[in-house]
Amino acid sequence: MTQSAAPQPAAKPGKREGRIGWLEQTLGGITGSIEHAVFTEQHARGAGFLQEIDPRAKLGMFLAVVLAASLTGSLAVLAALYAVTLVAARASHVPFAFFVRRVWLGIPFFAGIVVIPALFLVPGPRLFELPLGPVQVAPSAPGIIGAVIFVARVGVSVSLAVLLVMTTPWADILKSLRLLRVPQVFVLVLSMTYRYIFLFLHTANGVLLARKSRMVAHTSGREQRRFIGGTMGNLVSRAFMMSNDVYAAMMARGFTGEVRVYTTYRLTARDVLVLTAALAVAATAVIAGRFVS
């Protein structure tokens, strides 16, 4: 092949050059989700204080503390509960920076949006006034305190949820839901959903990579939308076909419609002790919240 016969770009790079396209974003998102799930599962099976506790006891502990965080109106108590959460995370070898960042990067934004109206609507002394055209808005001191408590409460609750996920395999979390009288069929459906979501993420990743490998020029928005629509349809079709095969595989192993879930959990004295301690912490937090501001 001569130099002049070398393949040339099909289209001139436009002003979009250098921007990360939707394809790369989607690929990155899917890959990130899978990597994150693998990391979380591996960490949940590692060594650590919380990892060694029976998942049912752990679920009870976390629910009790989340409930306490929801019931208390004291910022000091919430701070104390968060401190306990951080200590538990440390003892469970959860990567500290990852744990803190994951919770606090999003919470102030999303929880903050929810409480913005409360800043101005809660009655009380106004700290300052903001002129917005013909309207004067003024945040109240009780409104600001309430907003901070709300964000702290959400932060503590989400931290506890993240800590539970980081220290307990998903399969165990789902099975522990039986403790809350969640029917077995829901547990099975949830666990199968968790199982197959990764398979379809892998499939979607493959489809997007195959498209990327054949792209030689920017495509129009219309073409991209057509591709996304086609891919979604293809995935739904595959999922439907696969669901039939999976049902056949279940029948081949004696499934008759009655769901049975396998658990090998054994509650030890240590589990009971830790659960009791967590319940005591939760009760103390609720009571202390009435006396401490």
Binding site: R45, M192, L199, V246, A249, A252, R260, V261
Partner: protein, 283 residues
Amino acid sequence: MSEVEQPVVFSLRGVRYVYSGRHVALDGIDLDIRQGEQVVLLGANGSGKSTLLKLLDGIIGPTAGTMRALGRDVAAVAAGEDAFHFHREVGLVFQDPDIQLFSATVLDDVAFGPLQLGLPPEEVARCCTQALAAMGIEGLAQRAPFELSGGEKKRAAIASVLSLEPSVLLLDEPTASLDPRTKWVLVNLIRDLAAEGRTLVTATHELDIVPIIADRVVVLGEERRVLADGAPDDVLNDRDLLIRANLIHEHLHEHGRIRHVHAHETGDDHHAPGAPALLREVV
């Protein structure tokens, strides 16, 4: 007792299976499989191997013809009659392990069958431990299927059926898409399972594993009928039969002034080291 005297496990007479009323997957299959036989169903893609295995497993019934398995009418089993006990005796390992492994962990999948049988927890634990040990994957019990490699998934899929302790094991393309080392590890595991006296029916189009895992070969043709039924050596040395079944193909090419006609496994590189010599011919 000679093998011929063993009781018949599967008996098929004029069995036909049609998908969606249009696509003929099997047509006029006559076949007897006796207890303890290690049968390989050999056929190209689309020859109906997987459909035949599903019929043998009683999860679908024949469209026409009669079929009995372990003394039961397969059409009735497929309709749900006594399926509960039938599936304890006959286990099917699907080609795609992602279909077989539908639970959140390997242990949950291996325990699924025994739990459906309503076995007590200690018995479920014993079945799971034995099945995982037989496949050498005790260390993967708590792993999620999406974390496993292809070979690990295949082993886990077989373990999920072995936990039912079936006397008949049906394997659909057990070595498909595996690297050579993993493939031969799995072939040895299958041979070990056969040595335990199980009836083994394996669907494949890989000729190199046939002599190791089979004492009988049933060739399915692209007409979805049985083309041949015999000993592995007889079938593998019948070059015309293998070409007719699209299991090998011939082509002519030149090396300088010498012309060769090669016959080799469909999809195989006949120049690769280890390519089956018996399938080559030089003219």
